[in-house]
Symmetry: D3
């Protein structure tokens, strides 16, 4: 549940070692390692190809057309953080641009995930400051109405708590609860170990039908082959 | 964060007296009384005009195209509950129809809020079983993949915990955390007391500009009148 | 595959008895009886609550903003037909209004399914001429570019052949291939026979979990109950 | 082009007799009479079936999530006006409810067209205060940022000038420039005179193909009939 | 019409020479050469700029959130095939990633067109395995419910039969029925021959108005020039 | 208000010096310099990264699926113009491709902004002819129905008059009325002068909270810091 007008200063960030470990995997692998959960909706897209970020969430709740809380959030940033910004209404205004990116980077932030719009994408691309957003828009915002910082938010359909690990790449954005970070990182590693072997087999022409032993369950489910 | 394959049996439901008190207000009033938070996204619409429900949430996490968990949820229902169903992906299939409504009603449920599709809307309308959904669709579902019951879910952009109060009407759906139910009900009552007086004044031709004393702040903000 | 500029005069309509039999069921039941296929996308909505139609398809392929082919189609209508209109591009213009409805009805048509816009909805509602459309729009159309009549079309995501049975109600629109009409009608009847018994059991408080014997497969799939 | 922070007090309203004349027609007829132009996009829908309004536009430019200017607009209303509200960004918040409707009605307004959300739809329906909106939403708004009143706006894709005639019904919303009101009303009347004759012919089974003499142009365009 | 649970093994593929000939043209040219038909809806986008593929269709019908049939399809692939995957409901899950791409390529497939989501886009881009999809999403899928392989499907609004030629590039995806492949390839060649001459003329400043002799028809249609 | 079938030959273009001056800024800066107005909706996207154009508007009103007026517009182009094309209905067809681009460039046009679809994007990218569109689509159009050239249009939610300055880049598209061009260019310059200083401060770790003196207004608005 959202509370407005509140900034939480002390948050418990996920363990740094686990964050580093998670940062080596893709969002798809991590989401599978968690049991196929944790993803933001796929309308969240990186502003440039190859964008990649993994950090601990500082959360922001914005009001539509108002980026006041982004400045409040900047002060709460620590090195390795990623900002996760939700909005109380669907809004595509350009809440974020190169000035805020400069400020966030100066504070050590590694990226931004925003369920709203972003602007100055050319500058941000040159800076290699990665942003995942629902839109790109020149539209400016005001500083008039309070939201909150570091409260639990729902961003693009997923609940995010301050301190959670957020991993984002070309495929999307996944959230790992701080308490599960180490366990999920290990599960992701196990999963990945597995993959290169599978890839080699498939490349040699082995069928998934055989490699995953699907023929029997398919037959049981009633699959019929006809000519 | 979502966990799959889990059913929580004992949940703490909001206080019944507070639920009753809240049920007398509209979703707009309750949302304002909470500080203008708590709403599901407006794509959630009632299947018939005049639908109204207020109850304690039994939450369901569905997989796309699969309504298995709705049957699991039925067993967890107690009189006065309202089912809140989320889905792991955007999906408009008809997860719910008149048979499930019959079962839910037999268990005492007062309605359904589903971030998915609903079918048999003619029968449901005749039964006056209120449903808020993102779509109406004849499309049937399978029973093949586990979701969960009574875990925290994100439904139409809002996080809902089992036991929360959910109030839905023609204007939308609002969620009140169980622990805040009484306080919010009181705030809503205070708000409403206020409203009939305002309505009378406005009906007599008094302007909101004067009643809310807006002229000075508007001038300060720089509003210019021209002819 | 679409061919433009063609009107097929002689089409094989589904057997009338089967059409009559199918008309007694809902779109959801018929779609399930076919093996859970045959539905148009759920953005197709009736212009008034309670709309219901079942007939043999006369198909139309329209160009965006152009309703010339609707007049061509009128001549091909026989009593019991339902017009199914697709468009070569997504378009919400008002291709159809009360004049065309008057003409269609005079030719014996029982309704219209159009992947485009419809207008004069108040008049159509008074006439009880049922229409399922993707939009309601006052926007008029021209008569300048050829489409086709009675070729196979894709309407709202479903392929429809002239002569197929099209059944539409509050829940959506389902297409039954002419050759399968009788078989599907029988399957629907069997399905429905079953339903009233199930409804009674569920109303008495029996759980779907028990009635459908789901407890064992759920356990096998790994469902865990916690307190 | 939009200017913010401005209220124009003296606007030239369309001639009352022409407004009255236009009010007898549907939005589709009027739009055709203007040469098939003037419509708002079809996502603008009435909050209840049968809603109808025709008046002179008082325009409002709103900021997302902020309804301050609605109160400013109320003071500018004269009997017979209809409020046309645009927003600087796509936004579905509930900018308008029964209190504002009470105030608008007390000032003589006949309805509202808003490219945003509306709430209290049950009360508004009971009051028969007609509203066309892009959404229904309980979400409340603040009063913090200036927009404008009675400047030219773009509402749902159509430019509207203060004083223009706005006619809205079940099919949509059409805007007639004040200077053209009389001419369009006459054209609409001519068009309608024509229609009842056409309707009778079509009802008797005459085809549009013959009534509109389409057979020759269709043949010229290359239409082929096959068996 | 869709049938579930069926795999057709022997399909008639379009003539290889015609496929090769078609592969030299763009999707726009081929679609025009067919008489301006055959396109999938424009929401289907390549996962990287410059993607290009032309092959014979192996069709797949998927269930939402379930990619079981993709593995079944792999076995049916022959060199030069392109997989065309439809889904029984709108779904953006990541049905396809680098492992399946490795398998498809090992079987000789030249690309994938999927009315669903795709993941591992960075790896796929490095592999230069071209995919056209409605979304990019990390979301994993299960293997639980049967669809079909090599039945006629509707993919992104277009009906596709197994063996049809599918040509995809930056502009979109076009389907050429196997039986028409040679004829369409010839028509495309004729069209293209024409184009370079036109381009030279236009580059020299000749107007389309003159080159296409539009002045007279425009005048006839009533176009007025004013100063 | 739109009039169909009209071409205005003599339009007053914005002052060339002001256009040149404006062309040095980004769309975000210019929109802010105008008082945060003037933007087209953010669904308008460039067909390639890094696209940039600034010119005087020649406006076109298209009918859905018909690009006749684009050829009419070509004749009205003068060096430094940018074409702004609106459509009477939402339509994503490919109204524009490399042949028209060749013609437009030969006439001196610097780009195209079209509330419709565009094709031949690979060729256009190679030509570096910048286009902002709502879609990319192979779909061809006809030449059958009149629109207009150089009348006021509404393009992607913004009204554009012939001769206005249109500036487009990666962030979006902004329209500056011809009469305001010089004043806005000056305001943009002032704004930008300011920015590099701010950027340096933020890069050094100064917080926006302090640089913009936000702490006091935030406190006044009621922001609470908790631990």
């Amino acid at each position: 549940m959202f509370e407005l007008g509140v900034v939480k200063r002390n948050i418990v960030r996920a363990d740094k070692a686990a964050v580093d470990q998670l940062s080596r995997f893709g969002s798809a692998t991590v989401h599978e390692a968690m049991g196929r959960v944790g993803l933001l909706k796929p309308y969240m897209r990186p502003i440039y190809a190859g964008a990649h970020a993994c950090g601990t969430a500082v959360t922001v709740l914005l009001q539509p057309g108002d980026n006041w809380m982004m400045h409040v959030a900047a002060e709460q940033l620590k090195p390795g953080d990623i900002v996760v910004a939700a909005c109380t209404a669907d809004n595509t205004d350009g809440f974020f641009g190169d000035l805020l990116a400069t400020s966030f980077r100066a504070r050590g932030a590694v990226g931004l995930v925003i369920d709203g719009g972003c602007r100055d994408v050319r500058d941000l691309t040159e800076m290699r400051f990665p942003v995942w957003s629902r839109a790109i828009s020149s539209k400016g915002t005001v500083k008039a109405t309070l939201g909150s910082v570091n409260i639990p938010v729902v961003c693009a359909g997923m609940s995010v708590n301050p301190g959670d690990v957020v991993l984002a790449d070309d495929d999307g954005v996944v959230v790992v609860p701080a308490a599960m970070a180490k366990k999920v990182a290990d599960a992701a590693a196990a999963r990945e170990a597995n993959e290169s072997d599978k890839r080699a087999k498939l490349a040699s022409g082995v069928l998934g039908l055989d490699m995953y032993k699907m023929r029997e369950p398919l037959e049981k489910a009633g699959l019929k082959y006809i000519d």
